[in-house]
């Protein structure tokens, strides 16, 4: 690991100021992804600005019934927060299905959003990777692709975003507050992460001195249900092969509100708008007949899927997981 300059951020504005004007700067939150990358040589910042002690560690219930989550709130504290457990079960379950208890006690909201892909070639300095070293090529294409994308990938990168939390937040229409050198701005969570295109080294629309300060969740109307389904290679402590965050409100036997996001399938949390369009306004009564519309919705979304040699299984897996998530919600299962 190359030596770096460590600075404890004095306050929120000071954090941004300390990170401005440096090429190789990074904010240090829980460190569970960044320190790993520094050990591997994937990241080599010259300056680390420690934001872990900033007063961004509160979860506040907003007057409109929504929630403001500070950027340094630990994943464990967020999952355990009474308002999250009561009003946003999709988020609590997404968090609790990620990593382990002793990792979640360090991991933060901001760091979780900005964690980088688990593509094995990205983490291995001995192999070409356009995300790590632009222009060197993509080792995954034609290589091991079990963990890789089926939607929105490019000829330059087929990596997936590994976060569970971000998938739940995408389905919840979360808004991300960012403080940068030119002030504060709000970015819809679904626009925070990018598709790889021809610039896979850019995971998000942020620049290095942009500090995430909070994530806000709008309130869910009375009668809305939500859940998170994660499918992985072992029962616990593994990243998602496919995951589904779903939010559903059925009134008088008709779908009034539905929001679905998929994890493990794309370079970003994948909001399934096509599936939502099929579902909105459809009759749903908790009977086996619902299955048909759920399947049509999932298939509409996955019509554009382009699986790779090693991950064709993800297409039916994603379809079945969407159907099972919707079935669970329409029948009040978890």
């Amino acid at each position: 690991m190359i030596p770096f300059d460590y600075r404890l951020a004095p306050d929120v504005d000071g954090a941004v100021a300390a990170a401005t004007g440096w090429g190789g700067v990074a904010f240090l939150a829980g460190g569970t992804n960044l320190v790993d990358h520094m050990k591997l040589g994937v990241a080599a910042p010259e300056v680390l600005v420690d934001i872990s002690r900033l007063p961004l560690d509160a979860v506040e219930e907003l007057p409109d019934g929504g929630l403001r989550i500070g950027a340094t709130v630990r994943n464990s504290d967020l999952a355990a927060h009474p308002a999250v457990r009561r009003d946003y079960p999709v988020l609590a379950r997404a968090l609790l299905s990620g990593a382990s208890g002793q990792v979640r006690n360090l991991a933060t909201t901001g760091g979780n959003l900005l964690q980088r892909t688990r593509c094995a070639y990205f983490q291995d300095l001995s192999t070409p990777c356009n995300k790590r070293e632009p222009g060197t090529g993509c080792s995954a294409i034609g290589g091991y692709t079990r963990q890789h994308a089926i939607l929105g990938a490019s000829a330059h990168c087929v990596a997936t975003h590994p976060s569970d939390m971000a998938v739940a937040m995408a389905a919840l229409d979360a808004q991300v507050t960012v403080l940068g050198t030119s002030g504060r701005r709000v970015i819809p969570l679904v626009e925070l992460h990018r598709l790889p295109g021809d610039e896979p080294h850019r995971d998000t629309v942020l620049s290095p001195s942009d500090l995430i300060t909070a994530v806000e969740l709008p309130p869910l109307p009375e009668g809305t249900r939500s859940l998170y389904r994660k499918v992985r290679d072992r029962a616990s402590y593994a990243f998602a092969l496919v995951s589904v965050a779903a939010v559903l409100r059925v009134e008088d036997g008709v779908v009034r509100d539905v929001r679905i996001a998929l994890g493990g399938v794309a370079h970003k949390p994948w909001r399934a708008r096509r599936a939502e369009d099929v579902l909105r306004g459809s009759p749903v009564d908790g009977s086996p007949a619902d299955e048909e519309v759920f399947r049509r919705a999932a298939e509409a979304e996955l019509a554009g899927a382009a699986p790779l040699a090693g991950n064709g299984f993800k297409v039916p897996l994603a379809r079945n997981t969407v159907v099972s998530a919707l079935r669970g919600l329409s029948r009040e299962e978890r």
Binding site: V35, G101, N105, L106, Y237
Partner: protein, 167 residues
């Protein structure tokens, strides 16, 4: 770049100079000689480096020591009262919950951190009702302890030990 930090480790105050690149795990083991936490994977994947940091279980291999100035740390060694082992440590012995013992200090710290989470009513992904009380079933123990791998595969007895130690 070096930095001076202060830690309280197993009840004793320690002042030490650390290279900013030093992980908390290396500071404990090499800087202070607190060798109960073990270097397993060194990448956050096995849990053998788990300690209680200000009372909460954390891995120590993916966090820099310099970021923890002033922290209060309990390693598995600090759980015992001299020769008198902590009930969770005794449960591991009585249940034969290890073979080589390499993962055990992390398992024991993790188990105690986990029990405090259960005590506080925090659900896990294995909990049916997110807002209800938590009952420490074997399924809950397995899920909540999944961040601690055991290369010797003593899992069945570890679940027994944690169940006993929770009493």
């Amino acid at each position: 770049m070096d930095s001076e930090i202060q830690l309280r480790v197993d009840g004793r105050r320690k002042r030490l100079r650390v290279d900013t690149r030093m992980t908390l795990l290396d500071a404990l083991r090499d800087g202070i000689g607190a060798t109960a936490p073990k270097t397993g994977c060194d990448h956050g994947q096995c849990g053998s480096c788990t300690v209680l940091l200000d009372g909460r279980r954390v891995i120590t291999c993916l966090t820099f020591a310099v970021a923890h100035d002033g922290a209060d740390i309990t390693t598995a060694e600090g759980l015992a009262d001299g020769e008198w082992l902590h009930p969770m440590q005794r449960a591991f012995i009585e249940r034969d919950a290890f073979q080589c013992g390499f993962c055990t200090p992390g398992q024991v710290c993790s188990a105690l951190g986990m029990l405090a989470e259960v005590e506080a009513g925090h659900p896990s992904v294995a909990t049916d009702d997110l807002t209800g009380p938590v009952e420490l079933t074997d399924e809950e123990i397995r899920e909540r302890m999944s961040g601690n791998l055991c290369r010797c595969g003593a899992y069945v007895n570890i679940v027994d030990a944690v169940r006993d130690g929770a009493r």
